[in-house]
Symmetry: C3
Subunit: 157 residues, 3 copies
C-alpha cells in the first residue's frame, strides 16, 4: 500500500491550499465517513482558466486544465481529511467525479478532457482511486472557466 | 441552537406544500439518514418562472428565482422529514446543492444567481446550512425554467 | 414482493453486459451499502445513439433512447450487485437519477425524455424504484450521444 503523500511527491505535485469559494458556500463537507467537495473551477497560478472547448481550446489544453482541477481537488480533500483528524491515507475510496466541460454545441470530447482529472486520481490513489464518473458539456461556467469538477470520496469507516 | 421553524417565521417564509413532479419520479427519497431532493425548477405563484440568464433575465432576477427555489426545497425537505417522523430541527447538515442555471454561451455569473439559494439556506440553518455546491450553466431546462436546484441533506443519526 | 429478474423477463428485457467505459474510470463503485453508477450514454446495438433534441430528434425518440440507457444501467447495476455477492433483489432503493439531455437552446421537454428511464425503473422495481431525479439540457455530450444518465442506488443494509 503506497503512502499517498509519497506518491504525490513522486509525481511532483505540491498540494495547494484550499481556495476561497467565490460565493456563499464552503469548499467541502464531511458527513460521517463521506466527503463532498464543491465544484472546483480550473485555475492556474490563482487565475481562472477561462475558455471553451470547441471555440478557443483544444482537447489537449482541456485535459491539462482538468489535471490542474484535480490537483486543487486533492488540496481540498487533504484539508477535508485534516478537519476530522485524518489525512489522505485514510481515504477508502474516491467514489465519484462529476465533470462539467464548457463546450460549443459541436464539441464531443468531454470524456477525453475529463481524463486529465481521472488519470491523476488513479496515479495518486491506485485501486482506491478508481471512481464512477459523469462528464458532459455545459454552455458556460462561473467566471468563464473552461472546466469545473466536483468529487465525492469516502473515509475508512 | 435556533429552532428552524422560528427562524423561518423570522425570515417571513411560509413553507409551501410539496409540488407534484411533472414526470415519473418523486420529489424526495429518504434513505437511512440521507435525504435526496429532486431538482426543483423555479416557480412563482405556482407558475414556472421561465427565462434565460444573459438573454432576458438579469443576475438580480436569477438570484431572486434561486431564492424562490430554495423556499420550495425547504417545503419538500420539511415533508421528507415528516415522512420519517422527524422535522427540520432534526436536520444535521445541508450537505450539497447542485444548481443548474439556464444560460446563454456568454453568461458567467451562475455562482451569483445560485447565492440566492445558498444565502437563504445559510440564514435558515446557520452552521448546519453551510453546504458544498456546484453551479453551472445549462443550455435549457424542463418547461423553460430559468433555474433548477437539487439538494442532499443528512438527518441526525 | 416481485422477483426483479422475473419482472425483467416479463418486460422482455435481456440485461446487457457492462459496457467498457470510453475513458479512465469505472462503470460502478460499491461503497458500503451505496452503489454509484457512472453516466451511461445512449447506445443501440453497441453503437452510440447520437443526436440532439430540438435539432434532429423528437421527444418520442429521446424517450426511447432514455429507455435504452435504463436497460444498460440495469445491466451495470446487476454487475455491481454481483461484485459484492448480491443481486438485483437485494436492492433496497433506487435513490436518484441524473439525466443529461443533449438539447438546443429552445428544447424544453427534458423531463419527458427522461421519463423513458424513470418509467422503466418503476416498472422493474415497483415502490423501490420510485426515485429522486434531476433532468436538464446540456449543450453536448461525449461522442455526440443524445442522452447520458447516472444513477445512485442502495443495497439492503
Amino acid at each position: 500500500m503506497n503512502n499517498v503523500y509519497t506518491q504525490l511527491q513522486a509525481l511532483g505535485i505540491d498540494l495547494p491550499p484550499v481556495a476561497t469559494p467565490a460565493a456563499a458556500y464552503v469548499p467541502f463537507v464531511v458527513q460521517g465517513s463521506w466527503i463532498y467537495l464543491s465544484g472546483h473551477i480550473a485555475k492556474k497560478d490563482g487565475q481562472v482558466l477561462s475558455g471553451q472547448l470547441g471555440l478557443n481550446m483544444t482537447t489537449t489544453q482541456g485535459h491539462e486544465a482538468a489535471k490542474l482541477v484535480a490537483i486543487d481537488l486533492l488540496g481540498t480533500l487533504h484539508a477535508a481529511c485534516l478537519s476530522v483528524g485524518k489525512d489522505l491515507n485514510d481515504i477508502d475510496k474516491i467514489v465519484k467525479v462529476m465533470s462539467l466541460v464548457s463546450s460549443t454545441a459541436h464539441y464531443t470530447e468531454q470524456h477525453l478532457v475529463t481524463n486529465g482529472c481521472s488519470e491523476l486520481i488513479g496515479a495518486v490513489f491506485g485501486a482506491k482511486g478508481q471512481h464512477a464518473r459523469s462528464a458532459f458539456g455545459v454552455v458556460q461556467l462561473p467566471l468563464g472557466a473552461c472546466v469545473e469538477i466536483e468529487l465525492v470520496a469516502a473515509l475508512q469507516a
